[in-house]
Symmetry: C2
Subunit: 213 residues, 2 copies
DNA sequence: ACAGTAACCTTCGCTTGCGTAAGTTACGAC
DNA sequence: GTCGTAACTTACGCAAGCGAAGGTTACTGT
């Protein structure tokens, strides 16, 4: 029996940091940044407030660290998923990786869907998920150019793809009796794949300007 | 010159209510529910705090009224958009209606993308956009059954569709140099339409269980 | 045994922001 | 004109929550 477990007492700095990151993730995910109190985090970690300040400098510091780790984590998963295979397989695996992440780490996932406190600092919105969509957009742009499509429209499809996966993921994680991640991934990937595959070269609105007189 | 405009002074109860709803929408959209203060709303409306309480009973009351109106508004727009035309035209018009709403009322749109304060009350999440997706899901389920597809998978596609539109809309409203709403709508609608049109009867994962040894 | 240090706690100041109580000003009716 | 009412104000009570100052406990090496 190690000293840390006797009565869940004193931890090393590193261990405490790790614990606070985990606890913080849960609390931030539950209430959102603003509504989260440092006190609740401290309480759940069975320590007092100042410890949090010693380790992370405050609420925002802890939040930043947690978000950063989550981003690293999910990007890593997706990158691992697309290292090999046919384009379609890679798409499917990326979607599956994303959904698996959402299931495995629902708290982290929930945090990424909200906007960071950075948002209100720098005025504009870099919002994690849109960053991810921009990365996808980079890949799409190249593919579009090669295939003779208008490369300027690539971001639309990139954001559409990320949006559908994120939103389905959110619904899926919060529905009772959810299908398997493989099922959901295959359907979403099929939708995206078929949609992209059969895209007209230059989609235009089907007229219909005759909205009610 | 009416009495209300002389020095922007006393308004009738109805006019004040209307003004507070508008001001509140802007402020809630900017900061989110938690970070919004009643004081800022009162300040921007050039009145003092208690007025807000007299009219709406408090922060939550005002918020609820605003969200309710926005939901009515956007649902109305979409319903108007799908009254006539071929299925594909109706899809396209629905997407266009959604995007136009996002452009016309960016504040209302921003509010709908965040989760209501009701969320923390009843524990679970009904979140406006997912409600909308559920409505779409109702339509899809019927169509799927008719076409011989697995009706149980309809919600996946419904949420995917709503997710892509919402997310693209968010990106689109916040990007400088945005394409026309018609352009974006036609592309998104084409993606969704082609995807659904060429869907395999029963999508399954393309194997590839051989993730790195 | 007995420093020395890392981990941790109790207590406090101070600000912010919700919501209310009591009083004040404009305006229309008669 | 003066009376009543609807619109609005100033002032306040009170709780929550961020962050810091200073003191205390327990483990570690010698």
């Amino acid at each position: 029996m190690t000293k840390e477990e006797r009565h869940a007492g004193r931890l090393t700095a590193a261990a405490r940091r790790a614990q606070l990151i985990e606890v913080g993730r849960a609390v931030f995910a539950k209430h959102g940044y603003e509504a989260t109190t440092v006190e609740e985090i401290a309480e759940r970690a069975r320590i007092s407030k100042p410890i949090v300040y010693e380790h992370f400098g405050g609420k925002e510091g802890l939040y930043a660290v947690i978000v950063d780790r989550e981003v690293e984590h999910i990007v890593g998963r997706i990158v691992d998923a697309v290292i090999a295979g046919s384009p379609r397989e890679r798409l499917e695996q990326a979607v599956l990786a994303f959904l698996s992440y959402a299931k495995d780490r629902p708290d982290g996932f929930a945090m990424l869907l909200r906007d960071a406190p950075l948002t209100k600092r720098r005025g504009e919105m870099p919002a994690v998920m849109h960053d991810l969509a921009d990365r996808v957009g980079g890949v799409f742009t190249e593919q579009f150019r090669k295939a003779g499509y208008d490369a300027k429209t690539a971001p639309i499809y990139a954001h559409a793809l990320v949006g559908m996966v994120a939103f389905v993921g959110q619904w899926w994680t919060e529905s009772r009796k959810p299908p398997s991640p493989e099922t959901v991934a295959s359907h979403v990937a099929a939708l995206a794949w078929m949609g992209l595959r059969h895209l007209p070269r230059r989609p235009t609105l089907l007229a219909r300007k005759d909205r009610r007189p």
